[in-house]
Amino acid sequence: MNMFLHELKAYRKSTLIWTVSLVAMVVLFLSMFPSFSKDAEEFKTLLEGFPAELRKAIGLSVDSIATLLGFFSYSFLYLKLAGAIQAMNLGTSILSKESREKTADFLLTKPVTRTQIVTSKLMAALVSLIFTNLVFIAATFVMASLVAGDEFNKEALFLIALSLFMIQLMFLALGILVSVIFPRIKSVISVSLGTVFGFFMLGMISSTTDDKALRYLTPFNYFDSAHITENLSYENSFLLTVVLFIIAAILASYYFYTKKDVHSV
């Protein structure tokens, strides 16, 4: 319990900063929606005159992006990016900081098992992410109801916003796994930024090629907002992959950390 509280306190400031920046991004993007939807309406009438192949070639149908959900899905791309960086940072740093800041021997000589250490740290990271997401979803709904001209599908909006949490959990698990596998991580931010941007670019490529198999490679494409809007559910195969990946990564992290050779000073 002490470790859990200590970690919560240690990450309080960074969690708050991340939460505030995510909320600021939602507010910024959604506040642009009213003027955007007016533009898009005009463009839609114009688009009717063009052949269907062409409309497909631009990559997204204007029809869907002119709605609040479509617009939110677009801005969600950047929110996912920011959220993933937060989670990956948290995951990579929470275990590795002990040896980087030379506090590992202090912690490891306490009468707690390594399993307990990982569990408390994991719980603290989870609570930070849950806090961020609660505030994020609340802010999204407040902003959405402020800017939406007419009714919008609340359930779909909730599911899309919630998918941020799933992506964050995946990156958190990945970050922890990376931090226990590599013997020493000097700079957390370069590891996490590199990984997240790598996956982000993979996601960009996979969404243009429409390759089903490639989609499994990057968490950014697991939750397709078009599918969510239509069916009000996630795709089962991807949801399953998320759960399996998280369980596997966490179990592996426990296994590796209990055997890890931790250098003292």
Partner: protein
């Protein structure tokens, strides 16, 4: 000279990884062009031209001519510039702050060189790194764009864009070093530098999406070297060049003065 060599060696691996990343980025981006080319360039252009500004921003195209390779490359340029900027900002803050983070600053500061000289060697090493990064981007871009260009002259345009990217890199390099020199907590310097960078990038997207925010464009360097503007005007805007020079010189001075007085945290 020793510090310079040492820094070059320390950053070699990351530079290689970044170079592979940027080559991959150019290749995959231009690969998308070849699939787009089949979709009928001309009518695509007509459509893009009629698109409202905010929609264009979402597509990332603006007034670029997507049917030509160089126009398409202009869209890609934004992402290359962001990559280069991240590299530069991380390099800049890291090269200064890592000494404190890794507790090697004591070792370095007791050597018979002044802090100014040490900073200069580090800055020169960082400069060489970003020049190499820029050249790699330039070479891979020329190679791949030329492949699609059917004998059109692209080297001039690409050199100009790369010139813009280089200034952008310089600005973010000194943003990184200035933060590392000024900010008390050395461990957080890199995070702060990348945070500022992402913030500036989001601002530049927001400016694209909403005309009311146009006045903010002087605050984000990403707007200084906009591919649309550079390709259309065929050169840099003197105002932005001036602004860049002021920011660069100002932050370099900040880096030196604050680092010389810095209270190292060991």
């Amino acid at each position: 000279m020793n510090i310079f060599k040492r820094e070059m060696k320390a950053n070699r691996k990351s530079l290689i990884i970044w170079s592979i990343g940027v080559i991959f980025m150019v290749a995959s981006g231009m690969g998308k062009y070849s699939s787009l080319e089949g979709a009928g360039g001309q009518s695509m252009n007509a459509l893009m031209a009629d698109m409202p500004k905010s929609l264009q921003a979402i597509m990332g195209t603006g007034s670029l001519d997507l049917s030509t390779p160089i126009g398409y490359y202009g869209v890609l340029f934004l992402y290359l510039a962001v990559m280069a900027a991240i590299h530069a900002a991380m390099l800049g803050s890291n090269i200064i702050s890592k000494e404190e983070r890794d507790k090697t600053i004591e070792f370095l500061l007791v050597k018979p060189i002044s802090r100014t000289r040490m900073m200069t060697s580090k800055l020169v090493a960082a400069l060489v790194n970003i020049v190499i990064f820029n050249l790699v981007t330039f070479a891979s871009s020329v190679g791949l764009v030329q492949k699609f260009a059917d004998g059109e002259e692209v080297i001039g345009d690409i050199s100009m864009l790369m010139g813009g990217m280089f200034i952008l890199q310089l600005i973010f390099l000194v943003i990184g070093t200035a933060i590392a020199a000024f900010f008390k907590n050395a461990k957080k310097a890199t995070s702060l530098a990348t945070g500022i960078l992402l913030f500036l990038f989001i601002i530049s997207i927001a400016i694209d999406m909403n005309e009311k925010l146009d006045g903010l464009k002087y605050f984000t360097p990403f707007k200084y070297f906009d591919a649309k503007l550079m390709l259309k005007e065929g050169g840099f805007e003197p105002l932005y060049l001036g602004l860049s020079a002021i920011v660069f010189v100002g932050l370099t001075i900040v880096t030196y003065t604050f680092y010389r007085k810095r209270d190292m945290n060991i």
